[in-house]
Symmetry: C2
């Protein structure tokens, strides 16, 4: 069955159709929750009656609202107080070396607002005075330099929209655990417009010596978090960032300075960046030996597996957002991303991967950025196994969990990017399941 078919799918699976204006109108009118008015008698004047519905006047139209001086820096409506980052208490020993999750089930488009970008700390988020902050670049360089924030912000800058994903995103499910909702199964990801100085510009400033091959990036947090980064990536597209979605980086995302290593695992996008040492080999520090490596079935760990390969997930419906309107039209919505470049295609299945249909991609599709996909579904009320499958411009196709385990075994925590399944029940409830 193709996306463009308007005939019901065989075998009793849900009907999928393109919502041409005519068919969408017809079907949604049949199933929607819209209230049909009395018709031509509805005039422009306000009438008495139910205060909750136009044309009547709700309470908030009868008094002045808040003034332009009320909130010099604004916050969401009080009715959105549940759209927040959440953590999982049992996941880590302390809340300072822990993680919380982006509420991706509540978000639209591709930009993640700064207030809810997931946090991952190894010693808590430091409250750094930017006037006191410095970046030192040293090691195998001709002119080791220390930069103030003012120095750095004078350099030619660039802005790019990129995702950052913790490589442990979904990792709790590697062996079969089922997180309670998409915020926890896939919420270690965000996508922002980052602004800063290309690292290649700063490395030209200090002058690389011929033997230079690797960098060590160090954060100014209590963990002094360090990661080794190969020089070719550093010279390609790495940015030393000072802004996130227009404003200065948030404290929990690295204020006042962080590395942005496009498409690579979150951990190497070192926050609170204070030092870059240039060397001729990797350092093999803690976060690239005992952590952030993938233990294979043969007992050998894959190391420096930097790239976050193509991944996707349906964010509506999901366990937090059931299909509560019964049979009828739903727009399936979700996110896809790849550390290798642009998302080329996202397919949707309603039957656990037996049949696939192409989703629409929100444009512009940007390299190494979240990509919003949407797919029109006419639900007949029968159970579904909803899946999304991303393909990137390199040709890489998001694998099944079986395919991933066949290669990497059952020891891994990091880099679980397999096709995810939501079971939709006849009452519209959505369960997180793994299917064989």
């Amino acid at each position: 069955m193709t996306r463009d078919s308007k005939t019901p799918a065989p075998g009793g699976s849900p009907r999928l159709l393109t919502p041409s204006r005519r068919t969408f109108l017809k079907r949604s009118a049949a199933v929607g929750g819209m209230t049909m008015l009395a018709g031509a008698g509805v005039g422009e004047a306000m009438a008495a009656g139910d205060d909750n519905l136009p044309p009547n006047v709700p309470e908030w139209m009868k008094t002045l609202g808040s003034s332009v001086t009320a909130h010099p820096y604004g916050m969401p409506s009080q009715y959105e107080k549940n759209v927040i980052r959440r953590n999982v208490g049992w996941l880590t020993a302390t809340e300072e070396s822990s993680i919380n999750f982006t509420p991706i089930h509540e978000l639209d488009g591709i930009i993640t607002p700064n207030g809810v970008c997931f946090e991952r700390h190894h010693g808590g988020a430091p409250d750094i005075d930017p006037d006191q902050h410095r970046l030192m670049i040293h090691g195998l360089v001709d002119r080791p330099l220390i930069f103030t924030m003012s120095d750095l912000m004078r350099f030619p800058s660039v802005s790019r929209i990129h995702f950052i994903e913790c490589p442990a995103n979904g990792g709790m499910e590697w062996k079969g655990a089922q997180m309670d909702g998409v915020q926890f199964s896939h919420g270690m990801v965000h996508c922002c417009e980052w602004t800063g100085v290309k690292l290649s510009t700063l490395l030209a400033e200090v002058g690389l010596q011929k033997s230079a091959k690797w960098l060590l990036a160090e954060g100014a947090d209590a963990a002094a978090m360090t990661r080794s980064i190969p020089l070719d990536k550093a010279l390609d597209d790495v940015i030393v960032c000072y802004s996130q979605n227009g404003e200065r980086i948030r404290v929990e995302n690295g204020y006042p300075l962080r590395l942005l290593v496009p498409g690579w695992e979150g951990n190497v996008n070192v926050k609170w960046l204070r030092r870059i040492k240039v060397g001729d080999q990797p350092w093999h520090h803690r976060e690239e030996t005992s952590k952030y490596t993938d233990l294979m079935p043969n007992g050998i760990a894959r190391q420096f597996t930097f790239v976050q390969e193509a991944n996707s997930v349906i964010t509506s419906p999901c366990p937090e957002k059931p299909m509560k309107f019964g049979k009828g039209f739903y727009e399936i919505r979700g996110l896809a991303w790849s550390g290798h470049g642009r998302i080329k295609k996202v397919d949707i299945s309603t039957d656990g991967g037996n049949n696939w249909h192409t989703a629409d991609l929100q444009t512009p599709v940007l390299s190494r950025a979240l990509t919003r996909f949407r797919f029109p579904l006419q639900w007949d009320g029968r159970p579904m196994l909803l899946q999304s499958r991303a393909m990137d411009e390199s040709g890489y196709v998001q694998p099944t969990i079986e395919a991933l385990r066949a290669v990497r075994g059952l020891n891994s925590i990091y880099h679980k990017n397999s096709i995810h399944t939501w079971r939709v029940k006849p009452d519209g409830e959505v369960e997180n399941v793994q299917i064989a």
Copy 2:
């Protein structure tokens, strides 16, 4: 002189050059504030000494930072507390029918964070319960309908990055007043990723009658703000939005529902949208007769001048961001936008418009979105008259203030999009000036 020339400009004007790696390195090393380290002796181990500089250990590395449960919805660093919206007390009679301004001098890239998007209210910002909010579409339609928020969010949705600009942006300067800084001269603009339902989708749902030609959009604020919108625009690219930069629209920007009328003056992007009436002619309500019209020299007012034509401004330097490092390298940064489509070109002048040089545009350049431009400048410390000039894909070129006044006289408040001038003094201070 071309952009690529590396020779000093004639006549003593500032030297402009392309910062090829070699020349930028040489020149910035000569003038930058960077601290040269002792050289090869700097090791990886932390040494005692000045606690403010690496490789020493700052205070915030000695204690745990904040945990992942500390801020479920995050806010900017305490050190960014001055990056806020500001209003001008004398501008309006009350703070409920007033405006505040985006701090564009503090922002980077093209996305405006929701917390600092300018506000313009006519009766204050109402605190609307989304469960009680309704949108009614009626008038010359086959099936007048009332939609709940849940109804609306089920429809096929789109996300687009667009600017919204108040047509009074800069209007205080029409007759020659000089606002104190770029926040006040150009800060009635923001740019967000908006998500919602195309208005054409909803109009298909209610069924337009043949005589339909105009819409009236009404807000659920105390002013019951209304504007007439021609049907062809409504069917083209207008979006009924529920999300802004990923999360639900902020209260002050129309929560839970607003119109997004890409490229058109902010006032028609009706906030707190509660009603759309379809008619066969415009309504000539208050905000399109006594306000938001342009009184011409002959005493006749231009009405329904919807499009925000091409505009641009340099945001660094500006009065709030002087050139405080003395002679040397600066990246000139600014914003350009056009309600007619994409920005095609931005030129920079340092001599009040006698000579022009092409700036770099941040990609992707999006239609009817803010576009960030950057230009490398080697300043010789002499006075400058800095200007930017935008051209859009329609071929329209941002005019001088003289050209604008020659056509529209001196009575206008709205649609002042003329080339703006900053006077840079030898001490680096920047003044807002108008030059003949």
